[in-house]
Amino acid sequence: MSDTSKYNTVDAPEGYAGEGFFATKLDSVVGLARANSLWPLPFATSCCGIEFMATMAAHYDVARFGSERMSFSPRQADMLLVMGTIAKKMAPILRQVYEQMSEPKWVIAVGACASSGGVFDTYSVLQGIDKVIPVDVYVPGCPPRPEQILDGIMRLQEIVKSESVRRRGSDEYKDLLGSYNIK
């Protein structure tokens, strides 16, 4: 192991530390663990997908944010990165992939097309994926630079850190899913 101090480690949450123990809230620890190990499901449809490939590559390395393993299986993924235009033909499939993901799950809409339809205000393009699934973070851009995508992931990390452990079972969450007709 190198002895330079050039890398950042994650700060411990607030709590009370003693000889061999550390007391803090469960929410903080779970949030910390989840936020720094978000495994993405790259749902790459078009040009934003190529910018994601650039983000994944060595220059902008998304693995240092915890997204080491790109999971293409929905069950094993934490966050759904929707990158690119979603056409109306694709919307049921996007929904099925979202439903197959296991809780807790988050969604980032990368790019203008996923956020709101983008340049393509046409009969065949879904004007934003938030018509079919709930979205946590929107990253605008056409395509967004890799730094913007990383910024979106970092915002999601803030959301995840501060999320309550009980949120997924709460009525508010059930109402949210109900408004999209997702069981």
């Binding site: 033909k89 709101s116 339809g117 205000d121 046409t122 009969y123 065949s124």
Partner: protein, 173 residues
């Protein structure tokens, strides 16, 4: 030896008579019109004839002309290319506005299979004899043919964009 456009024109007229017409050179492509019921034989002749040798179907697309007379409201355009003599031609077939039908050329060129499906998807032009004429790019349940001129570009049911901000009113939309 280069293939002259006059050679193409003469060979076509002597073999097909009135079914081919309207020959002219548009920029660098020799264009002519073929009657829609004889497209398969004309294309087969163009491909198999020893001097013409148009071995490649570059492109196949449709056009909608709502302002033309009724028998010429739809058009199917074929671009062919002779690789040996480097000559390109464009063939236009005009179709009736109410019942646009034409024979398929997928028996001659396998590349026309999906291109004809795309033309059907966009314009509703029926290709008789096509092995699988169904929609390819749009959703299968769609009933209208979106690239026709009367069909609007935007989805009229969208809720997040207000047409007033785009300068569209009920008069000019």
């Amino acid at each position: 030896m280069a293939l002259e456009t006059s050679v193409i024109q003469n060979k076509l007229i002597e073999n097909f008579g009135l079914k081919v017409s309207d020959f002219f050179q548009q920029h660098d492509i020799f264009t002519f019109e073929v009657a829609s019921d004889s497209i398969v034989e004309v294309m087969k002749f163009l491909r198999d004839d020893a001097t013409l040798r148009f071995n490649f179907l570059t492109d196949l697309c449709g056009i909608h002309y709502p302002d033309y007379e009724k028998e010429r409201q739809f058009a199917v355009v074929y671009h062919m290319h002779n690789w040996m003599d480097n000559v390109r031609i464009r063939i236009k077939c005009y179709l009736d506005g109410d019942k646009p039908e034409i024979d398929t050329v997928s028996g001659l060129f396998l590349s026309s299979n999906w291109q004809e499906r795309e033309t059907y998807d966009f314009y509703g032009i029926i290709f008789k004899g096509h092995p699988q004429l169904k929609r390819i790019l749009n959703m299968d349940e769609m009933t209208s043919f979106p690239l026709r001129k009367e069909f609007p570009l935007e989805d009229s049911g969208r809720t997040d964009k207000d047409d007033r901000f785009f300068g569209r009113t009920s008069q000019n939309c």
